[in-house]
C-alpha cells in the first residue's frame, strides 16, 4: 500500500505547543477493567501498585479508575483537542500497562498517521527564497568603471 492509499499529515503541534509554554496534551486517562475477569489481571495489578505512582508523576493528567466495565479492559485517553484514543489492555502485565500509559501521556491528540516530513517550519527562508531572477543583473544596474590596465 503506497503512501497515497493511507491518510497522512504534516508534522505539527496542537496550538504551537512548546513555542510559548509546554502543556501536556493528555487531559484524562480512564482505566476501565472488570474486577473478576482473568484478562484484566494486569490492569488490576496496575491499579493496586503503579497507578498512584503514575498519577504523582503526571500531575496534570486526571486518572480515572473504573472497576465496572463489562467488556475487555481498556485505557481511554482523552486529549485537549478532543481526540479520544482507546487501547485494549487485555492480558497485559502491569509494567506493560504503565509503559502504555506513559506513552499515551507523551502523545498529542493528533492522528497517528504517516508524517510526510520529519520537520516543519513557518519561515523556511531567511535570506529570501530563490526565484529565477535572483542574482541576475537588473535592468537598472549601473555598470561599474572598468579597471584601467596598469
Amino acid at each position: 500500500m503506497t503512501g497515497r492509499g493511507s491518510p497522512s499529515r504534516f508534522l505539527a503541534a496542537v496550538l504551537h505547543n512548546g513555542v510559548g509554554r509546554y502543556v501536556r496534551q493528555l487531559q484524562r486517562l480512564q482505566l476501565l477493567f472488570s474486577p473478576t475477569a482473568a484478562d484484566a489481571r494486569g490492569a488490576r495489578q496496575f491499579v493496586e501498585e503503579t497507578a498512584l505512582d503514575f498519577a504523582r508523576r503526571h500531575p496534570d493528567v486526571v486518572l480515572y479508575v473504573s472497576a465496572r466495565s463489562d467488556g475487555a479492559p481498556r485505557l481511554l485517553a482523552e486529549y485537549l483537542n478532543g481526540t479520544v484514543r482507546e487501547v485494549l489492555v487485555t492480558s497485559k502485565t502491569s509494567e506493560e500497562i504503565a509503559q502504555l500509559a506513559t506513552k499515551l501521556a507523551g502523545q498529542s491528540g493528533l492522528d497517528i498517521v504517516r508524517i510526510r516530513k520529519p520537520f516543519h517550519t513557518a519561515n523556511p527562508s531567511v535570506q529570501g527564497q530563490w526565484h529565477p531572477l535572483t542574482n541576475k543583473p537588473s535592468a537598472l544596474t549601473v555598470q561599474g568603471p572598468r579597471l584601467q590596465p596598469q
Binding site: L15, H16, V19, G20, V23, N81, G82, K136, S138, L140
Partner: protein, 238 residues
C-alpha cells in the same frame, strides 16, 4: 419542582451574569495587554496596525479555535453541542477574567497577579501569529499612500518606482519586478503580474521592512513576561 426550577434558573442566571462580567474584564485586559506587547515588540507599527493585530488575536474564530484545543468546550455549561464559537470566546475570556481576579490583593502583590496572567496571554495567543503575514491580518487599501506618509514622517523623500526586471511582457503571464527608490537608493522590490500590481506589492514590501514585520525578523521572545510594570499599571487602572 417549581421552586427547584426557579432555583436552578436563578443559579444559571447568576452564572451567566458572572460570565458576562468576567468575560468583559478578561477581554478588556487581554486587548490592552496585547496592545502593550505589540507596542514594545514592534514600535514602528502604527496604531491601526496594532489594533488590527489585537482584533485578529481576539477575534471569534481564533479564540474559539484556541479554546477548543484547550478543552474549554468541556468546561462550558451550554445547552447546545457543539458549543457555538461566540459562547466559547466569551467563556475563554471569562476564564482569563477569573484568573485576573483569582490571585487577589491579599497575595504577594499585584505583580504576581499580573505576571500569571501575562504569561497565559503570551503563550496562547501570540503563537497564533506564527507564519502569518502582516497584511494578511491588517487590510490596507492604499499601501503606496501609507508608505508615502511613513516616509515623510521619517523625513525621507517619496519613493520613485522603477521597473527592475521584467519577463514575458508580451505573453499572457507577464512578470514585472518594480523597485522603489528613495534618493536613488532602493528600499524595496516587489513582483506582480501587471505594473500596478507590482508597484503595490513593492509598497507592501517596503512597509513590512519599515515596520520590522518581515518574515526573517527575530522571533518573539517568550522567555519572560514583557513589561510587567506597564501591565501592572493597567491592572490597577482597570
Amino acid at each position: 419542582a417549581g421552586r427547584r426550577a426557579l432555583g436552578l434558573e436563578e443559579a444559571a442566571a447568576l452564572r451567566l451574569r458572572d460570565n458576562r462580567d468576567l468575560a468583559g474584564r478578561g477581554t478588556a485586559f487581554s486587548r490592552s495587554y496585547l496592545a502593550r506587547c505589540f507596542e514594545g515588540a514592534h514600535p514602528a507599527l502604527p496604531a491601526e496596525g496594532r489594533a488590527a493585530l489585537v482584533d485578529f488575536l481576539t477575534s471569534r474564530e481564533l479564540v474559539s479555535y484556541v479554546a477548543r484545543n484547550l478543552a474549554v468546550q468541556d468546561l462550558t455549561l451550554c445547552s447546545e453541542f457543539p458549543v457555538p464559537p461566540d459562547v466559547l470566546q466569551r467563556t475563554f475570556f471569562a476564564v482569563i477574567g477569573a484568573l485576573l481576579d483569582s490571585s487577589g490583593p491579599e497575595k504577594a502583590g499585584v505583580f504576581v497577579r499580573a505576571s500569571h496572567f501575562q504569561s497565559d496571554t503570551l503563550d496562547f495567543f501570540i503563537p497564533q501569529l506564527i507564519g502569518k503575514d502582516l497584511f494578511e491580518i491588517w487590510e490596507v487599501i492604499n499601501p503606496m499612500g501609507l508608505l508615502v506618509e511613513e516616509l515623510t514622517k521619517r523625513n525621507i523623500s517619496s519613493p520613485e518606482p522603477r521597473i527592475t526586471r521584467q519577463l514575458g511582457v508580451s505573453t499572457v503571464l507577464p512578470l514585472y519586478f518594480v523597485g522603489l527608490y528613495c534618493d536613488k537608493k532602493i528600499i524595496a522590490e516587489g513582483p506582480g503580474e501587471t505594473l500596478l500590481a507590482a508597484e503595490e506589492e513593492a509598497a507592501r514590501v517596503a512597509l513590512r521592512k519599515l515596520y520590522g514585520y518581515t518574515e526573517n525578523r527575530r522571533p518573539w521572545d517568550y522567555s519572560k513576561p514583557k513589561q510587567g510594570l506597564a501591565a501592572e499599571k493597567a491592572v490597577s487602572s482597570n
